[in-house]
């Protein structure tokens, strides 16, 4: 590793806050994209399931 | 009937309609005049400061005035259902849309450019830049009209199209703004102003060739709601 210890890695000679902030926000945004896609998937499946129940209910009468 | 006569007929009607209703061509001009005279009140009356900012100010305000004018380009025809007749013509849509947008430029962009020397003197623009300012605006506002017409065609069927039009079209206006104001600045600094003007002319040729295709397609989509 280029840095002697974790403390130096965190400090990065003063540039640490900028670097870690950038990577943190990037991680947050990328994870948000994945969760959003999961959420849309769940909603869509819920709609489809409701449509399926309606269809089954119609078929019985 | 040849295409050119049809184009001339479309152009004639739009000019007649616009000239009969003064507001259509006077509003962008008044907007241009008023907003340009706001800047000295905001920035301060010093000559040197204004002279440096004048090209940018005039070009940005001309761009906004041109964009405001394009919103009404197809909306009037959409509301009174004459746009349908345009779309149902056996002739290709390309020349009709070209004539219509050119007519719109005659009513909005041209008077703006001819008025620009007056604004330039108000904003203390050095005299070397006046001629180039007018030429750059003549070319630039034509390109802005064609790009704005694409946005107008896309949003004509929407109720609140005005604001959305600006969001769609402003990014596409940026190259015209860059080369327009650069031409005037280099004329003032005594540098070569022909290259940026040449680029503006090239952008105009590209817009003349390609924009009507997008405008026609967008109109057919908007009417097809």
């Amino acid at each position: 590793m280029v840095f002697a210890n974790l403390q130096q890695l965190w400090q990065m000679d003063g540039h640490g806050p900028y670097v870690w902030f950038s990577f943190a926000t990037s991680a947050i945004v990328l994870c948000a994209l994945v969760f959003e896609s999961r959420r849309r998937g769940r909603n869509a499946r819920a709609l489809a399931a409701a449509a399926a129940r309606r269809r089954r209910a119609e078929n019985q009468f | 009937m040849g295409t050119s006569t049809v184009m001339f007929a479309v152009l004639r009607r739009d000019l007649q309609a616009a000239l009969r209703r003064g507001s259509e061509w006077s509003n962008p001009l008044l907007f241009f005049l008023m907003v340009c005279s706001l800047f000295p009140l905001g920035i301060g009356p010093e000559r040197q400061q204004l002279a440096v900012l004048a090209p940018g100010i005039i070009w940005v305000v001309a761009l906004l005035a041109s964009m405001m004018a394009t919103d009404g380009l197809f909306r009037g025809d959409y509301d009174d259902a004459t746009l349908e007749q345009l779309l149902l013509s056996p002739l290709p849509l390309y020349p009709l849309v070209l004539a219509k947008t050119f007519g719109h430029w005659l009513v909005s962009g041209l008077p703006l450019s001819l008025l620009s020397p007056l604004l330039a003197t108000i904003l203390q623009l050095p005299s070397e830049g006046l001629a180039v300012l007018m030429v750059s605006l003549l070319l630039g506002t034509a390109v802005l009209s064609f790009i704005g017409a694409i946005g107008a065609a896309l949003t004509v069927g929407l109720r609140k199209g005005g604001l959305l039009l600006s969001l769609i079209v402003l990014p596409l206006y940026i190259p015209v703004l860059i080369f327009g104001s650069a031409a005037v600045k280099s004329a003032i600094d005594g540098m070569a102003y022909l290259p940026p003007l040449a680029v503006l002319a090239a952008l105009l040729m590209a817009a003349l060739a390609l924009a009507p295709l997008a405008i026609g397609g967008a109109l057919r989509i908007s009417v097809d709601q």
């Binding site: 990065m12 999961r38 998937g41 869509a44 709609l47 | 596409l172």
Partner: protein, 247 residues
Amino acid sequence: MANWQWFHKWGSPRWFYQFSGRLLPWLAIPALLLLVGGCVWGLAFVPADFKQGNSFRIIYIHVPAAAVAMGGYMLMATAAAVHLIWRMKLAAIVMKSAAPIGAALTFLALLTGAVWGKPTWGTWWVWDARITSVLILFFLYLGLIALHQAFENRDAAARACAVLAIVGAVNIPIIYWSVEWWYSLHQPASIKFVGESTIHPTMLRPLMATLSGMYLFFGWVLLLFVRAEIIEREKNTRWVQALVSGK
């Protein structure tokens, strides 16, 4: 018509749903490995840049985000052309789903670019050619998303956005070139914002890792968005309902 068979088959949402289902793991795992591995490699195992110090490490997230955001726009323009020419519903879904992802990545590129400017230039916002172009790309994305939401009817929205996406894609090279020219006009002698070629090869390798990781990530999330949209649009069909109740 036989040779067009695969094209229409490929365009059917049902076939695409199954095909993409098998593809998901092959995108997700390498994407996460490359992204996380590349970042760790760039953060801790690469020497600092002698001029800029450690702040250059932001490049490992800034450049991939900007590059993939641009690639995403071009993908949208291609899907738009396919939708306008062949009226393929799937292309409309791909275009609609790619817009938010591209916008998010462009925002990320802007944010990391601004944060990078602070230690390097001393100000939060630098009117540098690359950052300005990314800002304009962000406006183009917002314009597309706003236009799509303005239409009540989904089909009209898709076709209108397709026209705008193609017009935007034609304009992007002109915008990027004019911003470069504008930037060089005002600061001819200034150092260029660190371009890939100028940095040392050992610094370059992690960038290749995160860049390819970001492309794979984009593909993965795009497929997730598209699959969700397919389920939502085809919710009244038998195959979707069987699929859903079968689960």
